[in-house]
Amino acid sequence: MWRRSQTDPELAAIEAVYREQLGSFVRLATAITGDEQAAYDAVHDAFVRAVRYRGRLRDREAAPGWVCRIVLNEARKRSTVERRHAASPLETAEEPATNGHRETGAAAAALASLPERQRLALFLRYYADLDYAGIAEALGISRGTVSATLHAAHANLQTKLKEVNA
């Protein structure tokens, strides 16, 4: 079968990102929306958008970060809408029952208390496994700022986790 992506390199690049990183992006969106189904929908819509607007993809090498940026936007949109109806796990994680759950909840709350950019940078690093260039593309910031942001995020989170465990 003739594949359109053979003559449409941007489409091929986006398809490759879909096949390689769908799971990572769904996890990333789940962390933001707090709901896996909403996260899958966000990722699906993000890829639809990426395919429609693939003419804006300047550098095919940057496709993972570029698509990830759209995923972030879609997930954040849903998060904003969902927040009107129900809080996400990050926000409801403060008062669990058992000790292990209490630690998880408090750690999640510590993560939720980070500035948004720091939190998203950590999500992109851990879930989407993006390198600094990919995170820079996804967040629309410089690579130097990525480094400083991740450093600050780790430091902040460790401090908060130590407080939790104290």
Binding site: R4, T7, Y18, T30, V51, R117
Partner: protein, 369 residues
């Protein structure tokens, strides 16, 4: 639980699905079973392109490029009624790495959601920290905001669609190739030569053009803007700092909750000659602080350190930011003022000039008694 990977796994379990790429293509209205270019068509298409190129080469100057640019700019605007845009603030601040001296320019980012029929949300963040977040209903929006954002949303699209817009130039701005499109009197938009998305706005007010960089631009469907007031930040509180009594530096730990930081007993030969308590107003009541002044009574380089364990607005607003603490090992510099995080304290440095503010930031250390 301190293991990061475990924490992240708990928050969002691994996803094992394989997705549905064909559905993505269907929803994007792409049918890859029907190729856009079949090989046997390529020669004919190449001939057609060459013929058009030949015609355009002899076409009267003006509309050959312009029409194409305007069409593509129109296609890049989207079709929604709500403008969602992020743009950069005009006044940069500088983050200085105190070890290497490396300087990073930081600008605030303004995100706006403008629904002409429902309202306006404006959020300003500085390096990820929210500075302002306000929601205004349709009847509350200032006239100038309605005018500007209407012009950038539906007005921009209307200008492109109606033929009122006009390509007036092309240049490279900060390394980005752009086409300048004139929208209306005193109002131009630059679109990227690669993506045709708006990248700069140039507003000419009283003969003085102001350039604003657009970080992202899209129009979305009505009702999609997050115009609920939940999560918004109150406006700036009173940031007047009150000086209190002189205190002994050795006793200051009880005031701050930890050892104060200082730049030594003297700076450039001028002594630390005044240590006073401070009080910063916050929404939750006043928080204590400490002021250390060097050379203030001897005509020296008057340097003042203001410190607190809280990023009170009265402290951080000395460098024009709200609730922001620079990463450890860096200083946020604005003119001759600097802001640093040191020993768990937030410290604002007032100095005669930027170089000395940075020098003092490097000298800060806990007061050991």
């Amino acid at each position: 639980m301190t293991d990061m990977a475990e924490l992240f796994d708990t928050l969002a379990p691994r996803y094992e699905g394989t997705g549905d790429w064909e559905r993505v293509l269907r929803d994007a209205r792409i049918d890859r079973r029907r190729p856009l270019w079949r090989p046997y068509r390529l020669a004919a298409v190449a001939a057609l392109v060459a013929a058009i190129a030949g015609v355009v080469a002899f076409w009267p100057a003006g509309n050959g490029t312009g029409g194409s640019v305007l069409d593509r700019a129109l296609a890049a605007t989207g079709e929604g009624a709500v403008l969602h845009m992020v743009y950069e603030g005009e006044l940069p601040r500088t983050l200085v790495d105190l070890e290497t001296g490396e300087r990073t320019e930081l600008r605030s980012q303004h995100e706006i959601w403008f629904d002409p029929r429902a309202g306006l949300r404006q959020t300003e963040t500085f390096d990820g920290v929210v500075q302002f977040d306000t929601v205004l209903g349709a009847g509350e929006m200032p006239e100038h905001a309605t005018s500007i954002y209407s012009s950038l949303g539906a007005g921009y699209r209307d200008a492109l669609e109606s033929g009122r817009a006009e390509v007036v130039g092309e240049e490279t701005v900060d390394g980005t190739g752009v086409y300048w499109i004139h929208i209306e009197d005193g109002h131009d938009v630059a679109v990227s030569r690669d993506t045709y998305e708006p990248t700069y706005i140039r507003v000419n007010m009283n003969g003085s053009p102001a350039l604003t960089r657009i970080v992202s631009y899209e129009t979305i469907e009505s009702g999609s803007a997050p115009l609920d007031a939940q999560g918004t930040l109150p406006g700036l509180q009173d940031v007047t700092t009150a000086y209190g009594a002189e205190v002994d530096l050795a006793d200051a730990a009880s005031l701050l909750g930890r050892e104060p930081v200082w730049a030594g007993s003297s700076l450039h030969g001028f002594p630390l000659d005044a240590v006073r308590s401070l009080s910063f107003p916050t929404t939750d009541g006043a928080v204590p602080g400490l002021s250390l002044a060097y050379g203030s009574t001897e005509g020296g380089p008057h340097v003042e350190l203001s410190e607190s364990s809280t990023a009170a607005e009265g402290l951080t607003m000395l460098v024009g930011v709200r609730g922001y603490v620079p990463p450890e090992g860096t200083a946020l510099v604005a003119g001759s003022q600097a802001l640093v995080g040191s020993n768990g304290l937030v410290v604002a440095i007032h100095a005669p000039d930027e170089a000395m503010a940075i020098e003092v930031a490097r000298l800060l250390e806990p007061y050991a008694g």
